[in-house]
């Protein structure tokens, strides 16, 4: 038993040592393995699949161009959004590039690129009740379904309104549709695609914006890939290729100039 214990202890020490010496250039790491692994979720118009099953979208196309500029291949991996920091630090992905709102929490947990697009958090209400509320103040007393850890949750909490945390933004819409919550708060880009006429949530509508916010790309803390991406963004904005991609997906109005 003592022998076993000492072997275990030695192994544990070895682990801490390798951990201490493993810090290295992230750029060199990605170039070494020849692939940039991009963590995404299915999120039109940023990252989604075309009919051929290939990942496209504003973020996907920019990620492909960035990988090209590094001379490496790109691999898209669908992740559970809740686990994005785990995935990054566990090196199962190299960046989070999926219309990610730059909140304080995100900035603390990852090394973030410059903001490249604008977004807002909007309130979703049943279409037949939307007219009853004149402004955001009138919404007090309602229960809001929000994605746990999302920017929308932070906005509602800041107003001290009641929240119900659900696991995805889509689940929060289901809450409103099912009447288990009075309202929901989700991304404007997503709301435009998911609620109203011709969608699965024809009985819902989106109303007030609670804030305006910005999208960025996340890397591991301390990564030198962040600098590389900022430089790439500046170049792509200057030569017009960034706006070109934005126009393909109809998000040109949201793009932030890069320098």
């Amino acid at each position: 038993m003592k022998k076993l214990l000492s072997v275990l202890l030695a192994a544990a020490m070895l682990l801490t040592l390798t951990a201490a010496f493993a810090e290295d250039s992230d750029l060199a790491y990605v170039e070494g393995k020849g692939t940039l692994v991009v963590g995404i979720t299915d999120f039109a118009p940023m990252d989604y699949k075309n009919e051929a099953g290939e990942w496209i979208g504003f973020d996907a196309d920019m990620a492909k161009a960035f990988a090209d500029s590094l001379g490496v291949k790109v691999e898209f991996v669908e992740i559970d959004w809740d686990n994005k920091v785990l995935e990054l630090n566990g090196k199962t992905i190299d960046c989070v590039w999926n219309g990610m709102t730059l909140t304080d929490e995100v900035k603390a947990a990852m090394s973030c690129s410059n903001a490249y697009a604008n977004n807002a958090q909007v309130v979703i209400l049943p279409a037949d009740k939307a007219a009853q509320y004149a402004d955001v103040a009138a919404l007090s007393g309602l229960t809001f379904a929000v994605e746990a850890g999302s920017a929308g949750e932070a906005e509602v909490k800041a107003l001290s309104y009641a929240t119900t945390a659900v696991s995805t933004q889509a689940d929060s819409l289901m809450e409103v549709a099912a009447g288990t919550s009075d309202a929901a708060v989700i991304d404007a880009l997503m709301a435009a695609a998911m609620v109203g006429e011709g969608t699965g949530y024809a009985n819902l509508t989106y109303t007030f914006s609670l804030n305006s916010e910005e999208y960025g790309v996340g890397f591991r803390t301390g990564s030198d890939l962040t600098e590389a991406l900022n430089a790439f963004f500046a170049g792509a904005y200057a030569d017009g290729s960034m706006m070109g991609v934005a126009e393909t997906y109809g998000v040109q109005a949201a793009i932030i100039p890069q320098a």
Binding site: V37, D42, E75, L86, K91, M174, V195, G200
Partner: protein, 228 residues
Amino acid sequence: MEQILQQMPIVIGALNTGFLQTLKLFFVTLLGALPLGLVIALGSMSRSLVISLFTRTIVWIVRGSPLMIQLLIIYYFPGLVLHTPIWGGGESGRFLAASVAFILNYACYFSEIYRGGIQGIPRGQDEAGLVLGMTPRQIFFHVKLLQMIKAIVPPISNEIMTLVKDTSLSRIIALQEIIWAGQSFLKGSQGISGAIWPLFFTAVYYLVWNGIMTIVLGRVEKRLNYFR
């Protein structure tokens, strides 16, 4: 209703792909866990105190902690602690990590069922075997093993049906099984967004599969009836 009919082909396609992944994990787990469980059962019954204490500790840890946490540890620990992501970020790596977690987890549960089956056989049979000049190994494989198998079919069937449904836990490491596929249409995928029904519809797949399993396992039980 019309909208659902329109969405049907795309959704069914995605759910089928997801369920194939579910079944793959199901069969790989059974293939690995059924034999490994026997090894662990023999280990925890070992006369060597070191071996039996060691295996019993592992069984305690695996049965005593949530499978969801085990999935997270097995998939993320190598990268987080060792800085070598042995599984990789792709689909195949996630499947491999999920398989390891499920095999280990189910093997531990199976081992206890096996142990119950083996120890449930009257001691008189050991004694009779010894009197006839059989070795303990011969007694185990020729006398006790088949009786044990018969005794454990009902509890193993229980675990098998739970296993099909438990595979959905692997979505925590983003393995795209059927629940993941159903949920993707809520948020938006392949041009369909805000569709609630695919998620609920996944239950039909589990029900049908467990229906088939009930029939198959019932037959197995019947075939083993010749002991009585």
